[in-house]
Every structure is written in C-alpha cells, then in structure tokens.
Amino acid sequence: MPKVNLTVNGKPVSADIEARTLLVTMLRETLKLTGTHVGCDTSQCGACVVHVDGKAVKSCTMLAVQADGARVVTIEGLATDGTLHPMQEAFRENHGLQCGFCTPGMIMTAVDLVNREGNELDEHAIREGLEGNLCRCTGYHNIVKSIAAGARAMKGKRRAA
C-alpha cells in the first residue's frame, strides 16, 4: 500500500493507505479528525473543504496520495490554545449556524476567501465565494454576516491557515 506523508495542522503524520483513499477519508478515519464532514460526496456541498498548501479544496474530490508531501489545515487547526479563530468566533457571535453540519466547510472556505480577497468583503463577494458551499438551515443570511465580521476581525491576525 502507498505510504502518505502529510503535515496536518502543523503536525507531521504518515499512514499506509489504499491508493483509492480520499483525503477526507484519511483525515476522518485514519487520523480521527472528524471535524471535516462528508455531505454530498459529489463535490457539490463543500462540507469537506480543507486547505491544501494554502488553497481551499474539496477533500472528497482529492486522493490522499495526491496530497503526499502537502501541508493540510482542517477546521481543528484553526483555534489556538482553546481560543477560537476570529472566523469561528464570528460564526458564534452572529448565529452563523443552526445544525452546524456545513459549518466546518463554510469556515474553511471563508478563511480562504479572506486570504485571497482581503478583510473588507462586501455581500456580493461573500455570496460568490460561497458558491461551492451549501447550507440547508440558515438561508445563508447569517453566514454572510458572520464572514463579513470574521474577515474584519482577522485583520492583522492572518495566519498560515
């Protein structure tokens, strides 16, 4: 079986896995990082979004072996020493989630959006940035509000994630 070496949330990990193992499966089942969710398993819903070498990807549509040597950040990698990441805090403050299933993907996509487009995001930019993330509870309104607030709160706090 192929051996995969990754840096996940700053820690080096390695595993012998079948070539067909999806990145999300390795994260959830091998590394027990169950914060990354599988919603649709067809690259539509975005619940599985993680960052690979600094870019948001759908981890249900990437093989773990393709990520060999890469730096992966999951939702578990955002908070530091028990303090929520500003984007996580903004979702909490603005009621940006109801059932919470889509939230890890929403937050990873949001942080990627801020990294690409900066801290002042208008509603249009946020809604376009969320095209690949589905939420079946909130109607998106408070998610958009959360991301605008989280983006501003990230100012000066940009990190590897």
Binding site: A19, R20, S43, K58, T61, M62, L63, D68, G132
Partner: protein
C-alpha cells in the same frame, strides 16, 4: 471507487511510460475523473497522477502591444498566450497576463465550478475530457486555439471530435494550449445553478473581421460552431446581427434541465450577450 495502482511521475517521459500500462488513466486536477471513478463509471487499473510533473502549469504571454485600458492606464493586448496543461482554473482566472490579453478567457475560467473546484481543475484536464457542457472547449474552438501534445500540434477544429471524445491517441498527453489573442472576445453562459456547468454557453471571438461563434452545453455531439451567426457578425459586429438566426433544435440536447427548443432560444440570447461583453 475500485482500487488501482497509483503512479506519481515527475517528468512527462515517465508519465508516458506509465500510461502504456493496461487500462491506465492520467489524473490532472481530478475534478471529473475522481467523481466518475466513485460512481464506478471509470475503473482504471493504473492512475498516473500528473501533480508531481513540473513545468506544465505556466502561463506565458508573448508579443502584443500596449493599449489604453478601460479603467485607465495601459494594458497589454494581442500577442500569443500559452497556458500549460496543468494550469488551474484559479490560476487562469487570476492571471494578470490573461486578464489583459484575453479577458474573456479569464472570466470564463473564473466561472467554472466554485472556488475549491477552480483550485484543482485544470485546462488540460477539461479539454481532454471534452464534457459537452464544459466551458473551455467553447473558448478553444472560438479562438482557434492549438493543442500541443507530446507528439504534435492539433488545431481546436480537429481536436473536439464528439461527446467526451477528442483526437488524442491513447499514448498522447496534452502539454499546453496556445491562444492567439483575438481583436475582441466574449463568453456568456446560462448555467445550471447547482452544477454550474453550461446549459448553454456561447463564446464569440472577432479577429481582423473574421468571427467565430462556438456553443457548449447544447450540442448532441459536444461543442460546435454556428456559421450563420459568424457570417452575420462578420458583416456587423453587433448583438442585433444575431436577430432571427436560429440554430436547429433537432441537433440539440433535451434533458431534465432544458428542452432542445429552449436551448436553441438560449443560444441566440447568449450569443448576443457574448457580443455585448466582447472586449
């Protein structure tokens, strides 16, 4: 997904050697191949991942001249744009060289899928797959692009041969796509809101009085040109020139998203929008 033997070459030659294996498939960004394998519609015995091959994700612009940009200042227009096969949609969408020399192509790339898909999907993967609703085939055909492989150069007119079919031979690999910048070009897409694939997409390109119009999303054999619109737009490059020109619906796709006659109507509407957007 059925299991397979995985290969991660670092050079094109090494990739081609692995490709000779029985039932081998090339994997670029994987945004189509992996979902297809999950559904067991594809079950290759060997998967050759191109992710480790360097030098195939470059964007190179040569020639052209400085002209006044719409937003003031000068931009480099014209010339030749060479895009490596492994260049992602996000790279094309965000490249200043593409935005200046071929803005319609940058905007097309920025409208594929969603941000995460654009971070993985590649131009080479898209055209090699030749999905009848993909965006890039329309751009390649309308712009008269040249597909450069390890063996030869293939004109876009000869490259897209049918539904999910191309002129590529089993041991052939796309290295890059070469676009000669047009005078002006525009792409308008009526997209499926869930998949963001084109229900109808029309790419219009004008170069020294010659116009090419390519349609994706609608044809039963994939991307195709509309000679009647090309002739009318060559006489007068204005949206009104397309009035009254109707593509025969009997050659178009009908599915749960749109009937053939509706697609025929949309081709006219999207062609007009593409002309209006042309820059």
């Amino acid at each position: 997904m059925y299991n397979f033997e995985f290969h991660r070459p670092t050079t094109v030659d090494e990739a081609l050697r692995h490709l000779k294996a029985d039932e081998a498939k090339l994997l670029a960004g994987g945004q189509t191949l992996l979902p297809t394998m999950k559904q067991r519609l594809a079950a290759p015995k060997h998967v050759v991942d191109l992710g480790g091959v360097t030098g195939l994700s470059t964007i190179d612009h040569k020639g052209g001249s400085l002209v006044m940009g719409k937003a003031g200042g000068t931009v480099l227009r014209g010339g030749t744009l060479t895009i490596g096969a492994l260049t992602t949609h996000a790279q094309v969408a965000n490249s200043n060289e593409v935005k200046e020399s071929l803005p319609a192509l940058a905007s097309l790339a920025g409208g594929i899928g969603d941000p995460a898909v654009r971070n993985r999907g590649t131009i080479g993967g898209s055209i090699a797959n030749n999905d009848p609703a993909a965006d890039y085939p329309a751009a390649c055909l309308a712009l008269g692009a040249t597909v450069v492989t390890n063996k030869r150069e293939i004109a876009a007119d000869d490259f897209f041969t049918g539904l999910f079919e191309t002129a590529l031979e089993p041991d052939e690999l796309i290295l890059r796509v070469v676009f000669t910048a047009p005078g002006r070009a525009g792409y308008a897409k009526f997209r499926n809101p869930a998949s963001r694939y084109a229900i109808v997409g029309v790419f219009v390109a004008e170069r020294q009085g010659e116009v090419r119009v390519a349609v994706t999303g609608a044809g039963q054999s994939g991307v195709f040109r509309v000679p009647a619109m090309e002739a009318a737009l060559a006489k007068k490059f204005d949206a009104s020139a397309v009035d009254g020109i109707r593509v025969d619906a009997s050659d178009l796709v009908s599915d749960i998203h749109a009937q053939a006659d509706y697609r025929a109507h949309l081709i006219g509407v999207m062609a007009k929008r593409a002309v209006q957007m042309a820059a």
